[in-house]
Symmetry: C2
Subunit: 247 residues, 2 copies
DNA sequence: AGGAATTTGTGCGTATGTATC
DNA sequence: AGATACATACGCACAAATTCC
């Protein structure tokens, strides 16, 4: 870290074309260190006093950077204990799942029905790649408290795995992505429409063909803002509904 | 503000049974001042140095309190200018509206059909009040780009107005609440289900009775976490869909 | 247009409280 | 109980943005 109190031409500022405050530069530096694997998930960082000396900044400045990173979810700070690299949320497996039983709640659960590699020009358009690109297509049946509630098909980039079978896929695909493919979903966009039972969904949901269904089309992005998943979920409106909270 | 650096028995701590940090006490104090109308919306607060002296805290401590209040959306701080009491967002009229045309987008627009005062025990339960409480019930027709897309009925507390007619209600009820009733909606929860055209909704949406419809049940809270609105929206799935983004 | 005054933002350093180990 | 580590609090100097003349 450069020691000019109000930097005007250090490395980062020069590259980014901006005059970023020193505490932001420090936080950027720490982000790079963490992503480069300098500290592992869950590992404790050096204590503030040490790190401040090492980076040649005042403790207060370092603290501001650490606080910023904590607010962004990359670090966890515990008084009396230390500052830790935060693990991607383990319990967040179903954090982005928005279906609930009509009476409220329910524990999500999924069963993989089929996995195959294929091309799909419509899906390729969503991902913004060439229509000859191969995707993994995964079909699943979803439950809340053992009640079948939805049929689902999803696509991810074929490049993530050479082989992929139903057996090796986790309950939570999001966790599988993180632990086996090295990325994780940070935000999604859902469109909820109305559709009708096809023979496929009727079979899975045990409904008569042609009955009305809720239909969720989801695009999922990684924290780098790249599209990493596209999915379609047909849910049975007799047993569940979609819940959305916003501020 | 008490001047013990690490307060152990000031007014607030005594009342709350906790030892709150001084900067939190300061922010609590400022919240009370603002709510009491000591400073109006948009008005500038005294400069940091003055306010710090007045409250008998260090400037840094005051700054931490002000930063906290800014993060909570009560204040706005502008370098070189001052610290201002934030006005509730004007442009947020349709911020919480989540229906879009199937092809995407569309400008929201609403027409009030009927307004009347009535009791409704089901609605009273949502508000958490006695079932004999009177509510205003407002029926509206919603459009996107002049296309009729939804029929809506909503309830608000009867106590907000003695009289209320369709003519005096704004396009945006949320704005009307803010400007005439003195509260505003800060967060909502939607449940999206499937329903079918009733004679009423069929008439408004120009559909045949019994056709499937999307159904949104919404509970809206003010920033004080009190339920202030309950609404039901039936939307035509042939022309629009519900969109939800989350991180 | 431009410079001075004002006001918040950044940065430094230190002392002490409080939670954890 | 003692050592360690983060949290709070104080105060000062200067930068940057805004305002005003």
């Amino acid at each position: 870290m450069t020691d000019d109190q109000h930097p005007k031409s250090d490395d980062f500022a020069a590259r980014s074309g901006k005059n970023r405050p020193k505490y932001v530069q420090v936080s950027d530096l720490l982000i790079r260190e963490i992503k480069a694997g300098h500290w592992r998930e869950g590992e404790r960082l050096p204590v503030e006093a040490e790190l401040a000396v090492e980076l040649k900044v005042a403790v207060g400045t370092l603290r501001k950077a650490l606080t910023l990173l904590e607010s962004e979810g990359l670090l966890e700070r515990r008084q009396g204990s230390g500052t830790y690299v935060k693990k991607p949320p383990k319990e967040a497996a179903y954090q982005l799942f928005r279906l609930e039983l009509l009476q409220g709640g329910g524990t999500p659960h999924a069963k993989t029905l089929a996995v195959r590699k294929e091309k799909n020009s419509e899906v390729a358009r969503v991902f913004g790649v060439s229509s000859s690109t191969l995707f993994w297509r995964i079909e699943r049946k979803r439950f809340l408290n053992e009640t079948p509630i939805a049929a689902e098909e999803m696509w991810i980039r074929g490049s993530h795995a050479k082989q992929l079978t139903a057996e090796e896929l986790d309950e939570s695909l999001y966790r599988h992505y993180r632990e086996h493919f090295g990325f994780w979903i940070s935000h999604v966009e859902d469109r909820i429409r109305l559709d009708f039972c096809t023979p496929w969904s009727a079979d899975i949901l045990n409904k008569e063909s042609g009955a009305p269904l809720g239909w969720i089309e989801r695009i999922s992005w990684s924290s780098q803002d790249s599209v990493e998943e596209y999915s379609r979920t047909w849910f049975d409106p007799d047993v569940c509904h979609y819940v959305s909270r916003m501020a």
